[in-house]
């Protein structure tokens, strides 16, 4: 009898323990604890989003800036390179560069309609040539002669 009762008690205790375990996993520590965990979840999410936002903004902003600077440097190089090429062509075509400051001529070069203008002969059209909007002629003057722009000393 005693043994039977003891076995029953043991079985009951096991059943109670099993139910307690189930209770803990399904409804942990009451409502306040549940709210705390939920807040932790949202907090972690918010911090992660902000962190990623910062990193993304920093990286993409940096890359954009880097790209802009690269393009700007390349434009600068292209301008100088085209100006030097213009002077070579000018010299080859019989232009007079004696006593001219080549560095100044290169520095004074500008872009007009996508074309680098270094000397008068780089203007392709008569109105541009005669107006010389970029003032590349310096102390001289650009004149339109024989379908091309030429420089004359005043």
């Amino acid at each position: 009898m005693i043994n039977k009762n003891g076995k029953e008690k043991k079985a009951n205790r096991k059943e109670i323990n099993r139910k307690e375990v189930n209770k803990i996993s399904l409804f942990p520590r009451g409502k306040k604890a549940m709210m705390d965990d939920l807040f932790d979840l949202f907090y972690t999410l918010a911090v992660s989003i902000l962190l990623l936002f910062f990193i993304n903004a920093a990286l993409s902003g940096g890359i954009d800036q880097s790209n802009k600077k690269s393009v700007s440097k390349l434009e600068e190089f292209k301008l100088v390179s085209s100006a030097v090429a213009n002077l070579k062509v000018y010299l080859y075509e019989g232009g007079d560069l004696k006593d001219k400051d080549l560095d100044q001529m290169v520095a004074r070069s500008k872009i007009l309609g996508g074309r680098t203008i270094t000397t008068c002969s780089d203007y392709l059209y008569e109105p541009d040539c005669t107006a010389d909007p970029l003032k590349v002629s310096g102390d001289s003057r650009c004149i339109w002669l024989d379908d091309s722009c030429k420089v004359i000393n005043i």
Binding site: V47, L51, F54, S70, F77, V84, G94, L102, D103, V106
Partner: protein, 250 residues
């Protein structure tokens, strides 16, 4: 939330603010922004390659001016440096009878010498070698030069090949013409009519501006307009190349 949890929460916010400040500071203040793509390459092209190109252009400008000055000076002297056959009113004789003081071969040797002498005066840091001309091109061999910057070195050859817009080979044509005139009209009684028959249109008597036949003894002065109609001189002072010479028909 307990005290420990609160601290951890604030640390997380502090960390975020710290990252923000760091990124702002690195980009705007310390200049430690991400590297510019191709910065080294573009700097190399700009500070080394283009500087070398500019230097070569400066050399070309100097060589072209010297070449044209030598050409003009030589043409005015009739292609002769010395007057071993004599002079008539300051103009060199090309021949004395069958003896020729002018030869195109002499010009071929003389021009590189004259150019080299002038070049060594203008560019003193080194000498150019193998100076020669081929058609309108004057060429010369330079040395290997270096343009060094902080992070790069660029080596280049400063040899030149410049278009003078004028060919010293015109002297070969003039030599042929002159030999033909002297061979066919030598000792002719009617020298002028012989010359009129044979001489080409760019051969003028006396002056290129005002043609006038004069015979001084056995010598006839000529002005020969450049067969290639080449202009020499600089800027506004450019003029058609004329060769002054006297031929002896004794």
């Amino acid at each position: 939330m307990n005290k420990k949890g609160t601290i951890i929460h604030y640390i997380a916010f502090g960390l975020l603010i710290g990252i923000g400040v760091f990124l702002f500071a690195t980009e705007e203040i310390t200049g430690l922004a991400p590297d510019i793509k191709g910065q080294w390459q573009v700097d190399f092209l700009k500070d080394n390659f283009l500087e070398a190109e500019k230097e070569m252009l400066r050399t070309d400008v100097i060589v072209r001016n010297i070449g044209r000055e030598v050409a003009l000076d030589l043409a005015e002297k009739g292609g002769l440096k010395t007057f071993s056959c004599g002079k008539l009113k300051g103009v060199n004789y090309w021949n004395k009878g069958k003896t020729w003081c002018f030869t195109n071969e002499a010009v071929k040797k003389m021009v590189p010498e004259l150019v080299s002498n002038e070049l060594n005066k203008k560019i003193t840091e080194h000498q150019f070698t193998n100076i020669s001309f081929n058609g309108p091109y004057l060429t010369g061999k330079g040395i290997k030069k270096t343009i060094a910057t902080e992070n790069a070195k660029y080596f280049y050859d400063d040899s030149f090949a410049v278009n003078l817009g004028y060919s010293f080979e015109e002297y070969a044509q003039l030599e042929l013409d002159a030999h033909k005139l002297v061979d066919l009209c030598n000792n002719q009684e009617e020298l002028k009519s012989c010359l009129d028959r044979i001489k080409l249109s760019y051969w003028k008597y006396g002056s290129c501006d005002k043609e006038e036949f004069t015979l001084s003894g056995t010598g006839v002065p000529f002005c020969v307009v450049s067969p290639g109609l080449a202009y020499l001189g600089q800027g506004q002072d450019q003029k058609m190349t004329n060769y002054q010479l006297v031929l002896d028909f004794s």
